[in-house]
Amino acid sequence: MATPEAKNTETATTELDQVIIRFAGDSGDGMQLTGTQFTNTSAMAGNDLSTLPDYPAEIRAPAGTVAGVSGFQVAFSSKEVYTPGDELDVLVCMNPAALKRYLHDVKSGGTLLVNSGAFTDRGLKIAGYEENPVNDGSLSGYRVIEIDITALTAQALSETELTPKQIDRCKNFYTLGVLYWMYSRDLQPTLDWIADKFKGKGKEKFAEANALALKAGHAYGETAEIFQGRYEVGSRKNIEPGTYTALNGNRAVALGMVAASERAGIPLFLGSYPITPASEILHELSYLKHHDVVTFQAEDEIAAACSMVGASFAGHLALTTTSGPGLALKTEAIGLGVIAELPMVIVNVQRGGPSTGLPTKTEQADLMQSIYGRNGEAPVPVLAARSPAECFHAAVEAARIAVKYMTPVILLTDGYLANGSEPFRVPTLEELPEINVKFADDPATFQPYSRDEKTLARPWAIPGTPGLEHRIGGLEKQDVTGGVSYDPDNHHKMIGYRAEKIRRIAKDIEAPEINGDDSGKLLILGWGSTFGVIATTVERLRKEGKSVSQMHLRHLFPMHAKVGETLKKFDKVLVPEINFGQLDKLLRLEFLADNLVSLGIARGLPLKTADIMAKANELLG
């Protein structure tokens, strides 16, 4: 094979605002790693980012098959980005299956970077191609860049001590090098990462090989004539100074809860049972024993939730994490938390339902379950995070409300937030909202169900405190004393207290922000992970001069009074959701609003700008 010849001409560099790339290959090709490295390097270069990994549903799908394709999408920009994007500018195909799986996501005229070394007869056959699509004209609407990455990597690493199989595994760094050249990226952060990752124990030869592959890929970009030019996506202006890190939603929830526990000055307890896509929160927290985090992998969701109730009774910041079907099982324990008036946070990483549904896909259909899914009058505050990194602050907010009002709080995220990542400015502890914990300690004044005048919270009196021995439980409590009471009027009064306590939270939360004007023709109202796609849509429509605003809800229950007021100020309110209109129903109930239009699309995928745009334009007439 021919070595590309060096060019003397300077390559032209084009400035771009935003690029969306998806790295795709077999699940053994290291695409998640490649994508993450590209993301981190872009972040360090000052881009804003949004990423979305897509793993195969099968644990070990056969190599080279469409089912075994793993993808990592990143949108990086010199402006703010809210979503990983609808359509791809670039698809990196490490094998034919990756092309087959994702070609339909590439925008017309987009770039396909193809590892021609994998487009062998065998590879094509496993992917289900009869002809090589690169040669049969079917890709004429795209710019195809063919590079034999397999062979070039082998050539670059021929002098190393690695076996051919080990050399083949370095393809992803070669590819990364090519892309670093294309997008004018610095190699150093990845070289540092490689050096750190393969430190000691005879792993230096892998460090050397990977670094060599990365540099060779980059050099190939410089020298090969197949590129028309390189691109530059500049750094963002007006970024808040500070230390940044990239977080996905699951990690953000875990870190947010650790931060909340530190802020509250009490240790964190997690009782959990593995379930996709929430398991990673359990994994993350299990690593954090040096932060005094106690994790308990229970025998099932019921035990997980119950252990949380026990830990809260005992004075820890108590957490359980789950996904839809798990929340269903935790229902009774959460009800116990409501009547026992103990603080606890329940995180539900929503996935496609009902039942087992689409376990690896995203949905927003547990809103009703969260707000209403308990027996009896059992109000529980419900929050939703809007972006991967914002899961951190949403977790802190959930803990704040739980402790201040002595109540279970449900925090909703979803599969898309859980896996997607974006930059996060690391806050100091003092920047986080106050979480005051004062355990009761005075036997002279203690009553288990006395209430704080302002919040109506009862005191948190934990075992081990002399003189405060008391009994609580699921039977109705007598006002103040907490004794068991079947008195009809007392019951009415107690459920009244518990309802009022939750209602008062509405005055202790931030009003939802409005992006755009306070009144007008159309308001697009969302909650949870659709924030980004709605923001992108609204921005585009406003650029076209249309009267459109966005309002986004973090607090679903109770809701801020401003929500009802704002609904009235728009001719129409469009409510896009990844369900069949649950927020829409809720708003009709709460505010008797009749100018709502539901846009429910539940395909197990994030909404697309195009979906919302079409509906909005229809409503704007």
Partner: protein
């Protein structure tokens, strides 16, 4: 306020200190009363402060137990007390945590939590009040009711095969497993104390008479005239003897099955000696099967008492080991771990 000299000697607690002083609402004559009295009598003898006791229960007549104890108490949801107690003990190992549960509560709806708690071995004391019936819901058959039992929900006789709680607990490899009968007050107190002092999960099955829905279920073990023939007291290192004058004993037959013999026929040395410390639970399991056929006596006392590290000790050791300098790690370091970058 008058100053009193502080002293390190704790005030000696009495039974009365553990009486919550409210009306006990069990049916007069219910076996639960005797168990309550035994627990209140035993706690003052244990090395805990009053404020360190926590009683957690599920749902059922027996699960009203915490209300009557002047300790910290949590009456929770049906079958889940062990899981809630687990959360208490995992976070606060210094507390003395107790679970009060019934046969329906622990073995039907709570079967899963019951076995997993025993498997993990937290230092929790589980008291299972076994009346072989659902009391609170007014008399349906329970997972320990005998096959053929006629109740409101089994008018033609129950077709379920019953659980033997001691066998189940042994199957889960619990480290302390005992059985007592509610009427046998002194024995209950003695075993309770041993259970409480055991480091690890202690499980006590308490045969409890529900005089409303299953009266007399244990008459063969409590009535003077037949008790000696039907009850075998397990005592460590002592031969397995029973009968009015301890004239009968247990030996193993050729198949290794227990068999009743007259001591004078075989000699006392041939009689099996009780060893609750046997690491293998099979011996205790064999004992747990005695009495089911109505031929052999039913053993009471400690079936098994072995040492195994407790869940919370291992848990907190991991936490301590994760902090080599004993200090909690820094939050900022955690938040910037992985890759981070600074924008100024």
């Amino acid at each position: 306020m008058t100053s009193t000299a502080t002293t390190d000697t704790p005030v000696k607690l009495t039974k009365k200190d553990f009486d919550a002083g409210i009306d006990v609402r069990w049916c007069p004559g219910c076996g639960d009363f005797a168990i309550l009295a035994a627990v209140q009598r035993t706690l003052p003898e244990l090395p805990y402060k009053k404020e360190d006791y926590v009683f957690v229960s599920g749902i059922g007549c027996s699960s009203r137990f915490p209300y009557y104890m002047a300790t910290y108490g949590f009456h929770t949801i049906h079958g889940r007390a062990p899981a809630i107690a687990m959360g208490v003990k995992a976070t606060r190992p210094e507390l003395s945590v107790w679970v009060a549960t019934g046969d329906g509560d622990a073995l039907s709806i709570g079967g899963n939590h019951f076995i997993h708690t025993l498997r993990r071995n937290p230092d929790i004391n589980i008291l299972l009040f076994n009346n072989r019936i659902y009391g609170l819901t007014k008399g349906q058959y329970s997972p320990t009711s005998e096959t053929g039992k006629k109740t409101k929900s089994s008018p033609l006789g129950s077709i379920d095969h019953p659980f033997n709680p001691v066998s189940v607990a042994l199957g889960a490899e619990g480290t302390f497993i005992a059985r007592v009968v509610d009427r046998d007050a002194k024995h209950v107190s003695e075993i309770l104390k041993a259970a409480a002092l055991h480091k690890g999960t202690s499980f006590m099955e308490i045969y409890q008479n529900c005089l409303i829905f299953n009266d007399g279920a244990y008459n063969h073990m409590t009535e003077r005239s037949v008790k000696a023939e039907n009850v075998l007291y397990l005592e460590e290192g002592k031969p397995l003897l029973f009968g009015e004058k301890n004239e009968k004993g247990i030996v193993l037959d050729e198949l290794g099955q227990p068999k009743a013999v007259r001591v004078e026929d075989v000699g006392i040395d041939a009689i099996l000696k009780h060893d609750p410390k046997s690491p293998d639970p099979s011996y205790a399991f064999m004992l747990s099967r005695m009495g089911l056929d109505g031929v052999l006596p039913t053993p009471v006392g400690i079936f098994r008492a072995v040492e195994r590290p407790t869940y919370e000790d291992m848990l907190h050791k991991q936490i301590a080991d994760a902090k080599p300098d004993g200090k909690k790690a820094d939050l900022h370091d955690l938040l910037t771990s992985g890759s981070s970058w600074t924008i100024s």
